[in-house]
Symmetry: C2
DNA sequence: CGCTAGATTGACGTGTTTCAAACCAAGTGG
DNA sequence: CCACTTGGTTTGAAACACGTCAATCTAGCG
């Protein structure tokens, strides 16, 4: 590939995996330079999604997985009755749609929480390419496996933890994900409303709000609206793990 | 392969994928005959596990995934503190260990609930083979993807459902898994104690017991000890989905 | 035939939800 | 520029589902 040797920097930066700041976290992670080009060639860029727009709807035909480039999304599964369940938040470098691979349709809708850009990766082409590139194949396995472990952690949280532990865990986990991406782990912005947090954690909105207030009065965090400042990370981690009597 | 054209039937039945009654549900699902032989060649048979024995321990080095051949297993993840979490039950034809692929160690222990036999599949060899056999690769992707969706369903259950809905869902799901495997969906045996069910569903043992009793008094099921008889499947499914006032 | 792990049942306490209302920030239109 | 929405957040009081504690019962098994 590489047929257009010189373009404007900005375009390159936007358009190519090699220059993407996320390449060390994203699928190309383990690839050689020339392999990245092959991988790059199958990617489709998409117009940015605005807040509230759907990347796809539950039931849409599955064709592609998506890598988040900037912004954030939520995945919701609705089933018979109005009761939707929020099953995941996606941040930059994470892969969306892995849970649809063996189905003709996406099992849930994915919605932008803010202005969000993604790279579309047609799955059939990804699979073909993964035949030639063992590292890519490994990376796909790893991504899915990692998501499985995340889900198990989540199940543990929903099954065994108290509301306080859940929210503390949520904040610690988010903080960690930001840190890995090079952002401050102590100060960040929630892109989702309280209702989404509640739905995700299996708590009523009111409960989320109450616990936020409590954490503030204990000087663990300072949260105003969606701005989060973690004041005492150690204490927050303690809250997340065990809550003795 | 196929160098031993004639052996005793019983041995063949035990030892080869082609004659395994689960081949239509298991990994070889989509493979051609000759490909199955290749696949078969990398499998290691293991001595049966007795009830309570570990297939592997949390923290053991990850080398293989396992296909359940007969019996059943549970996966438990323990973390700092005594609080174990049961994250999955495995039935025949299901794949154990997929959540360890991108880690050096298994993230949880897997323990036999009864006498259980498994096929060991060294992962590096499986991965190599999947390079040559696109169908096999697809099958691995599908298995993982399916497990992801299962986990999401579980998250939804733990997050939003009442205790009654959880138990009803548990029974319906089990029933369905038995049906797919050619067993009666109405009459089966639970291989796990109540405590495990409770742990899995995020409920106290006592709650499980009480709801079992309640379901019985409503003539939805007849459960004595671990023998389950589903009397009114429609009602059970209704209970699993929504519980109106 | 008694022992012990597992299962059941009851009474009580409590964390979380639910219902209801007030509050707040950010738009929007007059 | 200020009422007036509108969507989201917070706070309070009451109801309830589930967990905990404790006792009893059952079944498998040496």
């Amino acid at each position: 590939m590489l047929e257009a040797p010189q373009r404007r920097r900005a375009v390159l930066h936007e358009a190519r995996c090699q220059t993407c700041s996320l390449s060390s976290l994203c699928l190309p992670l383990a690839l050689e330079l020339e392999d990245i080009d092959q991988f790059d060639a199958i990617i489709r860029r998409r117009a940015p999604l605005k807040k509230g727009e759907h990347l796809f709807y539950q039931g849409d035909a599955f064709n592609s997985v998506y890598a988040v480039r900037s912004g954030s999304l939520k995945q919701v599964t609705s089933e018979g009755g109005g009761h939707d369940q929020l099953t995941n938040f996606y941040l930059p470098s994470e892969l969306v749609g892995l849970d649809a691979i063996d189905e003709p349709h996406y099992p849930g809708s994915v919605i932008a929480l803010e202005t969000t850009t993604v790279c579309e990766i047609p799955f059939d082409r990804l699979d073909q390419l993964s035949e030639k590139l063992p590292e890519l194949r490994g990376q796909i396995y790893r991504s899915m496996s990692k998501e499985l472990r995340n889900d198990r952690r989540m199940m543990r949280l929903l099954s065994g933890k108290t509301a306080d532990q859940r929210l503390a865990t949520f904040l610690v986990t988010l903080s960690d994900r930001f840190r890995r991406r090079g952002y401050s782990p102590y100060s960040f912005r929630l892109s989702m409303p309280r209702a989404d947090i509640g739905n995700y954690l299996g708590l009523a909105v009111e409960t989320v709000s109450r616990i936020v207030s409590r954490f503030q009065s204990q000087d663990v965090v300072a949260i105003s609206g969606r701005e989060v400042n973690i004041l005492d990370m150690a204490k927050l981690q303690r809250l997340a793990e065990e809550e003795p009597a």
